[in-house]
Amino acid sequence: MGSFLASRLMTDIFGGLATGTVIALIALSLVIIWQSTHVLNFAQGAMGMFATFVGMNLVFHGLNYWWCLALSVVTGMALGALTERVLIRPLYGKPEINPIVVMIGFLGVLEAIIASIWTTNISMLPSPFSEIYYEAGRRTILVSPFVIYEVIVVALVLSGIALLFRRTNLGLQMRAAALSPEVSRLLGVRVGRLLTFGWALSTGVGTLAAVIVSTGQVLAPTNMDGIFVSAFIAAAVGGLESPTGAIIAGVSIGLVEQFILDFWSTSVAPLSGVIVLVIGLAIRPQGLFTRQVSRRV
């Protein structure tokens, strides 16, 4: 058993899952925003990092990791809500390129603000769980307590969000508002509030991902840049509309990256997202998991 878990195949699978689940989480946060407001949020990574700095920086001042995590997520949600109200709301009904340009600008602004406030920070954010891999005999299994924690948290958040959308009245309103804001308004749904909540939820999820990515690393404004590209591709390959698609594509990219890293070359690994993108879009240009909308004539 131990040698099987430590085999090359399982090592790659564990490593791929550890990255892939976080990619899936960020991809899901992008899908939530796209579904509700049709905005491609290029600043998602930076927004999560900003909130992470606000909360996790207090670890260095002696505050407990978990309080800092909670503070980060709450900050992220507030930042998301504020962004929707201030930056995005004036752009509804305008060409779809407008919010993209605004969010790319916001990305630059946020990274500059982070760099100017927390300039001197070069400390590593300590992990609440050991990041040392388990061993079987003298062979390493690519699983640490932190990886287990991370996969469990991501699974809980993903199922929580699925329950929210499928099994609560709030989720029903969000889905209705995303499908047809006009009809929803006529039914008395307060669409504006739901859009704000969608951004808050999404940025909260994105912040959780940013904290996971930054744990065990030096806290830097650019921590999310690499994984964000993979997540963006995952969301696109999944079809942007589909939470399930984003999650499956996200985990797949993590696995593909790990196998390329192991069997091919470390220099090719960062391109794995692009490889999944090309293959995925070649098979189904509209995205792997978008349902065909049939129209009655």
Partner: protein
Amino acid sequence: MATDRALSLSVEDVSVHFGGLYALTNVSFDVAVNEIVGLIGPNGAGKTTAFNVICGFLRPQTGVVRFPVLGRENLRPHQLARAGVARTLQGVGLFDRLSVLENVMAGAQSRSGGGLGVGLFGLPASARGERELRQEAAAMLERVGARQYAGALPGAIPYGIAKKVAVARALMARPALLLLDEPASGLDERELGEFADLISTLGESMSVLLVEHNMDFVMPLVHRVVVLDFGEVIAAGTPHDVSHNETVLAAYLGVGE
């Protein structure tokens, strides 16, 4: 008009013109509590304009639309549902990727008072409320005779059923006044009969205004008829009186041309 009746809707001296074209001229009529009223007229008579004024999509240049029992007037479209006025959309307007049952559940959203705060901080309560809503929506589908389509997507059900589902969705708001826009359009004979039966039962618990050009459908169904022609009310009264009114026959049926 009698003033001792409690009114759900009172359209008073409404005029609408687009540039020099008068779409409605001094139009007045009302709908009493638990009364079913048909607003009819030939194509181009101003029915849709009148409906849009009542729903708040159009502001009349003169006149006012009151909802006396609700204590409101000149409501905007998004205010209707919360004020107690439900409407169906011309065509169907169902959410294409929500199930039939979820579509009906969505009709109850104007009732949920707490909204986001309750939904967010009381998620367990929200889930419990969702189960109750699910049962209520299923009962409503039973009432309109579409229970067996609960799990289907709107694109996969017959048009006649979809129109019933749209009414079920509107009824979930528990409205005091229901506005039906062209409910008979696109229905076959059998569906028309079923639909008429359904609307007849609604008068027990709410007022209904239906805008419709199919006279055969409207006449047996309503308590009163208001007839529009060239943007003016040319007759109002019981279906029997109106169908024997010379002016109406001339205008609507083309008799005497």
